[in-house]
Amino acid sequence: MKIVTKFLIGLGVLIALSPLGLLLPEHFKAGSAWGEWGAGEIRELAGYIPKGLEKLSSLWSAPIPDYAFKGWEGRSNISLCFAYILSAVIGVLVCIGIVLILGKFLSKK
């Protein structure tokens, strides 16, 4: 088997296992990554929302925020895992697509 094929299989396995990155932190009651809190969390931690942070934090509205679909807050873990896997698939495909396009410009002829 070619090594590229093996790596692609490896990527598939990682995608299938990716919900671990969602479920393990929840199981062990780990909060957000340090410095990646939302405005509400930071008010609890610091006692206030820094003014510039409040303004900038809503600058960009990502289509699949935090690897979950909009409006799916509070859904069951199974739904969230499904969204997480789908996010991984989308992210991996977009990464591969963009690099393949970039590669047309960036490789030796």
């Binding site: 909060g31 990554a33 003014k51 925020p65 960036l106």
Partner: protein
């Protein structure tokens, strides 16, 4: 380690975009000179690997989470300049599509994770595995050490970037405008959690794949990287 929008002030965000622009330009030029068409799929897999490995959040119970970046491995296999491009692609997609890392912080996040991390990791690996045979256990050790130091340097820099904000931007009454934690908190936390936990994840991921490649595809470990 994905700094979101709002945590870094405009000066820091602008500075890192300005620093990254020439790095991205040089990376494109060097990769253009050296990347062979048949290596493009590997570069694409490198970007995808880095993207998906960062989704594996590892918990510190009742605390916080972190993850590996996978960037040192990409640098060992494809060279640091190619790795810079691959990780940049992953980080930009994470920011734009998934809101993981801020748009304004892309420069800073890329400096930490797509520049310092792969370059430091690559040269540590090269130095420690110097003249080691392809199947030498020293290569596995070199990969682990490179992963560990690479991600910790990136975490340290993220801590410095966070921690400088209260000094740079605050109201007359002393309230921070952006990240509210200073160097005395941000640096020990960012570095500490990576030294204790997440650095080992990067080390293990990097070492395991190198060990696997020694058995399965050792030609990838000898001079196949784009730029030595």
């Amino acid at each position: 380690m994905h700094i979101p929008d709002g945590y870094l002030g405009p000066a820091t965000c602008g500075l890192f975009y300005v620093v990254m622009l020439p790095i991205w330009t040089i990376a494109s030029k060097i990769v253009k000179k050296t990347l062979q068409v048949k290596q493009v799929p590997m570069l694409a897999i490198g970007a995808a690997f880095s993207f998906v490995i960062m989704m594996f959040n590892v918990p510190i119970p009742a605390g916080t989470t972190g993850h590996a970046v996978g960037g040192v491995l990409v640098a060992i296999l494809l060279g640091p300049w190619s790795a810079c491009i691959a990780i940049t692609v992953a980080l930009v997609i994470q920011a734009l599509l998934f809101g993981d890392g801020g748009i304004t912080a892309i420069g800073a996040n890329c400096f930490n994770m797509a520049f310092v991390l792969p370059f430091a990791g690559y040269y540590i690996y090269k130095a420690v595995s110097y003249k080691a045979s392809v199947n030498s256990p020293r290569r596995i050790f070199a990969a682990a050490l490179a992963g560990y130091i690479g991600i910790n340097l990136a975490a340290f820099l993220a801590g410095v970037e966070f921690g400088l904000q209260p000094l740079l931007h605050h109201t007359a009454s002393g309230q921070a405008l952006y990240c509210p934690y200073g160097l005395n908190v941000a640096v020990p936390v960012m570095l500490g959690e990576h030294l204790l936990i997440f650095g080992w994840v990067e080390a293990i991921v990097t070492a395991l794949v190198i060990k696997y490649l020694q058995k399965q595809s050792s030609e990838l470990l000898v001079g196949s990287e784009v730029v030595k």
